[in-house]
């Protein structure tokens, strides 16, 4: 009964929370006017938000298996949508996406289309059926559907491969944000962030992560929208940036013509050719429908019906951010063309100076005329979102808010990923394969210890600042798509798919994908059809799918019991026979 009261009160709880957060911002804004220092505002923001996440973690602590792994399967569709949104949108989406769009123009839209279009595949092929299967993890699904341990083991390996680089990048992002806003060393920042992540996932598993992710979503979306809405109001008089930047795009095109720029912002296929654009879109979409940390969120809804609705809510909540990102890029470009380029270098706007101090903006007067030309200005991708509050002339409290938003995006994704890795090891490897009789207490203890170990390793990897991190994140989509997508979708839709086929298909898909991306990236292999390494999935996915089908047909069909089981998953409830 307590559970129902809790679920019914969710809108009230999070409504009050959102109001409280807004009051907190207003309070800080007033404090800033009364002379509170920027450094102090940064510290209060970080301490308050991380403290809040930790508190939710402590309140939601649990030692119940279903609560720990799937949040008790009672997360309503809307709230699972918000949690999925935060789980899904990483530091790269929050801070990097607008910068990518700034640099690539139309060609950057491959990320927008890829990361939203993938939800259609999730809705049609996976979410309702995974929920009906009702397991705890994605390797769990593979183990149950195909029987034996082979498919499960490959699933564990692929899940860890796709998640580890990803989580390292998030921890690194946390380090960058905390170090920049608190003025501490990156290595220290990494561990500060880690404490926030661990308190949450360690005590309460999926349950704590879910309710924290909802809280993090609310902070990150407010932080993303406030600066751009304000800037739109200043530039166009209408506070709806998502509609108003169309006009700005037209002015950008005119300015580009005047400035003699031939690669127009809105012109397709000038920074990436047509084949690579379509290939990248495809890999990002299929990868979305295969990343374990994201798919496992659909195990937490109370029913198949809610799982279907939840995919829609998830897309709605990420859409709010993704359809605003191109506006950030357009407004920043307009500002650069009108207020930065062509000015004497000693009269540039303040934001250019303040961000060049930290190295995110570089100015080199190569022809020594004292005037800034476009080719003399370089902007780091991260600077677009971070500098917008200053471009709009907003008080420092908004910059602090943006930092808190970026932190929420990185922490929430890291939470989900760490849990995926730890669960793959504790639930799938230890409980299902090594000691099926392990008592609940030991299972959870092992899961929690592994969480600590994985988090420690990720933090160590992040503190080494490897430059390949960003590449590895982009690879995660191709890796997950090649390894999981054929086995998951055919496992649901094709009764004839059997263990030999799945094992062969996953191995071949994963190998082709890894061979291609490692070959092209590190060994100078000539790309096939000119496709870049980031889209290795274009070859891995069909290779895995064909192998799965051919090998399944060549070997014995699954037994009648398994076929009946697959059939039963097609119906949310077995009706009258």
């Amino acid at each position: 009964m307590g559970n129902n009261i809790f679920v019914n009160n969710l809108p009230k709880i999070y409504g009050a929370y959102t109001g409280g957060f807004l009051l907190f911002i207003i309070f800080l804004a007033i404090a800033e006017q009364m002379g509170m220092s920027n450094q102090m505002i940064g510290w209060i923001f970080m301490a308050a938000t991380i403290g809040l996440y930790a508190m939710i973690g402590i309140i939601s602590r649990t030692s119940d298996v279903a609560e720990y792994y799937v949040a008790g399967r009672r997360v309503p569709a809307v709230f699972n949508g918000m949690a999925t949104g935060a789980d899904w949108m990483s530091a790269a989406s929050f801070i990097g996406m607008a910068g990518t769009l700034y640099a690539l123009g139309y060609d950057g839209l491959a990320f927008i289309m890829g990361w939203t279009g993938g939800y259609v595949l999730v809705a049609l092929f996976l979410a309702p059926y995974l929920r009906r299967f009702g397991q705890f993890t994605i390797p769990d699904f593979l183990g149950t559907r195909y029987g034996g341990n082979a498919a499960r083991v490959i699933g564990i390996i692929a899940a860890i491969m796709a998640s580890f680089a990803y989580v390292t990048a998030q921890v690194y992002g946390v380090g960058i944000i905390t170090s920049r806003f608190l003025g501490i060393a990156l290595e220290v920042g990494v561990f500060v962030g880690l404490v926030g992540i661990l308190i949450c996932s360690l005590l309460g598993g999926m349950r704590a992560v879910t309710w924290t992710q909802v809280a993090q979503y609310i902070i990150l979306i407010i932080a993303y929208l406030v600066p751009i809405v304000w800037l739109s109001y200043q530039l166009t008089g209408v506070p709806v940036p998502q509609l108003m930047y169309g006009e700005i795009l037209q002015r950008i095109t005119e300015l580009e013509t005047q400035l003699g720029i031939t690669k127009h912002h809105v012109q397709p296929f000038v920074n990436n050719d047509k084949a690579n654009f379509l290939a990248l879109t495809f890999c990002l979409m299929v990868g979305t429908a295969a990343l374990p940390h994201f798919l496992m969120r659909y195990y937490t809804t109370p029913s198949v019906r809610e799982a279907r609705n939840s995919v829609g809510w998830s897309l709605f909540f990420i859409f709010l951010l993704y359809f605003s990102a191109p506006a950030y890029a357009a407004f920043a470009k307009y500002e650069v063309y009108t207020n930065v380029i062509g000015l004497p270098i000693d009269q540039l706007p303040a934001w250019v100076a303040s961000w060049s101090k930290v190295g995110l903006v570089t100015i080199a007067d190569t022809n020594n005329d004292g005037i800034l030309q476009l080719s003399e200005l370089k902007l780091n991708a991260d600077v677009i979102v971070l500098a917008t509050p200053e471009i709009a002339g907003l008080p420092y409290v908004v910059a602090g808010l943006v930092a808190a938003g970026g932190l929420a995006a990185a922490l929430s994704t890291a939470d989900g990923l760490l849990l995926t890795i730890a669960n793959a090891l504790s639930h799938d490897l230890y409980f299902k394969m090594i000691d099926p009789n392990a008592p609940t207490k030991r299972r959870l203890l092992i899961s929690k210890s592994l969480l600590l170990v994985v988090a420690g390793v990720a933090a160590y990897a992040a503190s080494l600042k490897p430059d390949t991190i960003l590449h590895m994140v982009a690879w995660a989509f191709s890796i997950a798509a090649s390894a999981f997508f054929p086995a998951l979708v055919l496992g649901i839709f094709w009764k004839r798919a059997n263990k030999a086929g799945a094992v062969a298909g996953m191995l071949v898909g994963l190998s082709v994908c890894l061979f291609y991306l490692i070959g092209v990236k590190f060994y100078g292999m000539t790309p096939w059809f000119g496709i870049k390494d980031i889209s290795a999935g274009l070859f891995g996915i069909p290779a895995g799918m064909i192998t799965l089908i051919v090998v399944s047909l060549l070997t014995k069909e699954p037994d009648a019991e398994m076929q009946a089981f697959v059939e039963s998953v097609r119906y949310p409830r077995l009706g009258i026979a």
């Binding site: 049609l124 279907r308 359809f323 009946a564």
Partner: protein, 85 residues
Amino acid sequence: MQVSVKMREYWRKNLRITAVLLTIWFVVTYVTALFSPALNEMTFLGFPFGFYMGAQGAPIVYLALIAFYARYMNRLDREYDVHEE
């Protein structure tokens, strides 16, 4: 397990709507992207239309497809008496 004629019909309807929605998804994604240079010649809400489709149009269609599928299937569940309690 006994699967009745009615249940097979439910599954067939599910496959059909899945195929229809997937076709729309394909057209909205790949056909509009391929023709985006030509679509950019048109203006929609002040945007070059090709750019608009990639930035907002396609995601809005995706959202509509998912919402429609959820509604359709949740109804179909009841109609064929395979809904959860």
